[in-house]
């Protein structure tokens, strides 16, 4: 964690960027703005942090000419302090409904801001502080400030669930961990209306940055774990099943707690993998035989145990899973191994675990590595889906002819119109897909809903099954109707299903759709990013003509159906 002065220094050397994050606050926000700016620079986020004048939230939001409504404003941070709220609360006559008035005001802000359809709102929740006017009874008295803040936060969370573009920064969690005494200093508030101490500004800046990163698709998908002294105490090869420390008492329970957390992450959809310097059978034995093991073998998508160097093993794991190295985390108790991996693989995140194992879990949790802006039921199945993929990789090794392998998979697919059930998964896919993504357009659930309801769009998603299992929703395209032309506003596909004939199946369906809609020509565009070079020539390969750099078109009656082993699902 960088301290405030370091962040201030870093933020001074920033270039200026064309997209904005605007900070609206009812307290002095200059330092907050500096801290976020420094953090963005540190995390390579190319967004300009713009501070606004003290306590001008209403003025800015109600002014149609405000910078908030310009198209380059992508994020708005709304920080309303509990301090200011308290003054309003103290003055109000009907204290038991005070929270409703505040919520109405916040909803007004969210509704007005949505006029700029690009905008993502990051709303701070309220720090509950107790004025002890009602002692411990405050929970029972609706008019107490304590009750009002809790009711307000509850409503903020509930309402935010209905706004696809509103994200909550849980400022209150910071107070839970560090306490009001550390986060707030009355002197600073009295002197300059600063509501966050300098020492804790970096934490707040990190929180905001984590949300922005997640909304840009910079997320972690997988955690690779060492075994000895990381998932249990001791060395299995030397100490044996009875000698390793794992259990209810003493240091063993530290590792049990860590395993419980990892299991919860797996249930949420984060992939777990093992990379250990051990014989395979020795390494796997505790998972099968030790009574206190929380994690089991089938919780892992890959289990690599051998005597090769860890960097090579991690590169192998990445190759099989086919996800970005920058979406992986590697935990290992040994500083030598950590440095080796960090040096050979700069993109992977390697937490610098503290020396004391009893502090591992707290340290890892505080890093907030697994920030996300969406979650769907599908996530729970992710480990199983990747395990199925490993099954396919192994099957392929049995065929010398790739076409024979594809035929043996018995693939069937379905094309469907966007609907409310698929909206979360479509939004999530737009956030997570980087490689097979023609124009890298990230969609929130609100964006997906807008497109579904707009008759100038034709948008379809695709699901795929094979004999190993169900891949679920793995691709979609969004077509904009411009007269008798379709413009492919975006087409993306999960990299789990690349080069199996799904590309051809989808394009065949696209041209079928075009014929049904009396479309004469289809236009596609490729917008380069640093991860999607694999689709640079896809339109050309599928028969389109290149009309200018990165623009492609094909007349519908000139399209020839492509061969594919993917069949229509009955």
């Amino acid at each position: 964690m960088l301290n405030f002065l370091e962040l201030k220094k870093i933020s001074k050397c920033r270039k200026s960027y064309s997209n904005n994050l605007i900070i609206l606050s009812d307290s002095a926000s200059q330092f907050l703005s500096t801290a976020i700016s420094g953090y963005f620079e540190n995390e390579h986020i190319d967004i300009q942090v713009v501070d606004t004048d003290y306590n001008q939230i209403d003025l800015q939001i109600l002014d149609e000419n405000s910078i908030l409504y310009e198209s380059k404003t992508k994020y708005v941070v709304i920080y309303m302090s509990s301090e200011m709220l308290y003054y309003e609360y103290a003055k109000s006559i009907n204290k038991s409904t005070f929270f409703e008035k505040v919520m109405d005001k916040i909803l007004l802000y969210w509704n007005k801001l949505q006029k700029n359809t690009n905008i993502k709102i990051i709303q701070f929740d309220f720090l509950p502080f107790d004025d002890f006017v009602y002692g411990n009874l405050s929970f029972k008295v609706k008019e107490s400030f304590f009750s009002q803040i809790n009711l307000l936060n509850k409503q903020v969370y509930e309402n935010a669930s209905n706004y696809g573009n509103v994200f909550i920064y849980k400022f209150s969690s910071l107070q839970n961990d560090f306490g009001r005494k550390n986060i707030f200093d009355y002197k600073m508030y009295a002197m300059a209306k600063l509501t966050i101490t300098q020492e804790y500004l970096p934490f707040v800046a990190k929180g905001v940055t984590d949300i922005v990163k997640a909304s840009l698709g910079k997320i972690k998908k997988c955690i690779i774990c060492d075994l000895d002294n990381t998932l249990w105490g001791g060395i299995i090869g030397d100490d044996g099943i009875d000698g390793i420390e794992l259990g209810e008492l003493g240091i063993g329970q530290v590792y049990v707690k860590l395993q419980i957390w990892l299991k919860l992450l797996k249930e949420r959809g984060i992939l777990l993998a093992v990379c250990s310097k051990n014989n395979l059978e020795t390494a796997q034995e505790p998972f099968i035989k030790h009574p206190d093991m929380v994690l089991k073998l089938d919780d892992f998508v890959m289990f690599v145990a051998n005597w090769d160097d860890k960097a090579s093993n991690i590169k192998y794991i990445q190759k099989v899973l086919n996800i970005g190295m920058d979406s992986m985390v590697f935990i290992d108790d040994n500083p030598f191994e950590r440095n080796l991996v960090r040096t050979s693989i700069p993109d992977i995140t390697v937490p610098e675990l503290p020396e004391d194992p009893s502090q591992y879990l707290d340290y890892l949790q505080q890093l907030n590595l697994f920030e996300t802006i969406n979650y769907s039921e599908n996530d729970k199945a992710r480990t199983k889906q990747y395990q199925e993929e490993v099954g396919r990789v192994n099957l392929e090794k049995q065929f010398t002819n790739y076409d024979d392998y594809l035929l043996s998979l018995n693939m069937t697919a379905k094309m469907c119109s966007f609907d409310s059930y698929s909206t979360p998964r479509i939004s999530q896919l737009s956030q997570r897909s980087n490689q097979f993504n023609l124009r890298t357009i990230r969609l929130t659930e609100s964006d997906v809903e807008h497109i579904s309801n707009d008759s100038t769009y034709v948008s379809k998603y695709f699901t795929l099954k094979d004999k190993f299992g169900d891949y679920g929703l793995i691709s979609y395209f969004v077509l904009k109707k411009l007269g008798n032309v379709f413009f492919i506003e975006n087409w993306l596909m999960s990299c789990r299903v690349l080069k199996r004939g799904m590309e051809e199946y989808i394009i065949n369906k696209l041209f079928d759709l075009a014929r049904v809609n009396s479309i004469y020509k289809i236009i596609g565009e490729y917008i380069p990013s640093n991860k999607n070079s694999m689709v640079k020539d896809i339109y050309k390969k599928l028969g389109f003509k290149e009309t200018s750099s990165c623009c492609f078109e094909l007349e519908v009656d000139k399209y020839i159906n492509k061969k594919t082993f993917v069949k229509d699902e009955e």
Binding site: F4, L5, Q30, M191, A192
Partner: protein
């Protein structure tokens, strides 16, 4: 801690806050002498001093600080 030691640490703090490794200060140095020394910088200086010396200033005491000398005297009193 004697006044000289405090002075050394305070000089370090000023150098960090104003991002100038060669900054020299004395008891008379005030906001008139350093361009970036505005009210926000004042807050940053005081926060750093509280953190470095592990002390907590009183609001009354910090309202009347005129120059570096006053700050050092206040730190001497609080440490």
């Amino acid at each position: 801690m004697n006044r000289n030691e405090i002075c050394e640490k305070v000089t370090e703090i000023f150098r960090k806050v104003f991002d100038d490794d060669y900054l020299q200060i004395n008891d008379e140095t005030s906001a008139y002498d350093i361009e970036d020394w505005d009210s926000l910088a004042q807050i940053t200086l005081l926060s750093e001093m509280e953190s470095v010396f592990n002390i907590n200033f009183n609001l009354k005491d910090i309202a009347n600080l005129q120059n570096v000398g006053d700050m050092i005297s206040l730190i001497e009193k609080s440490v």
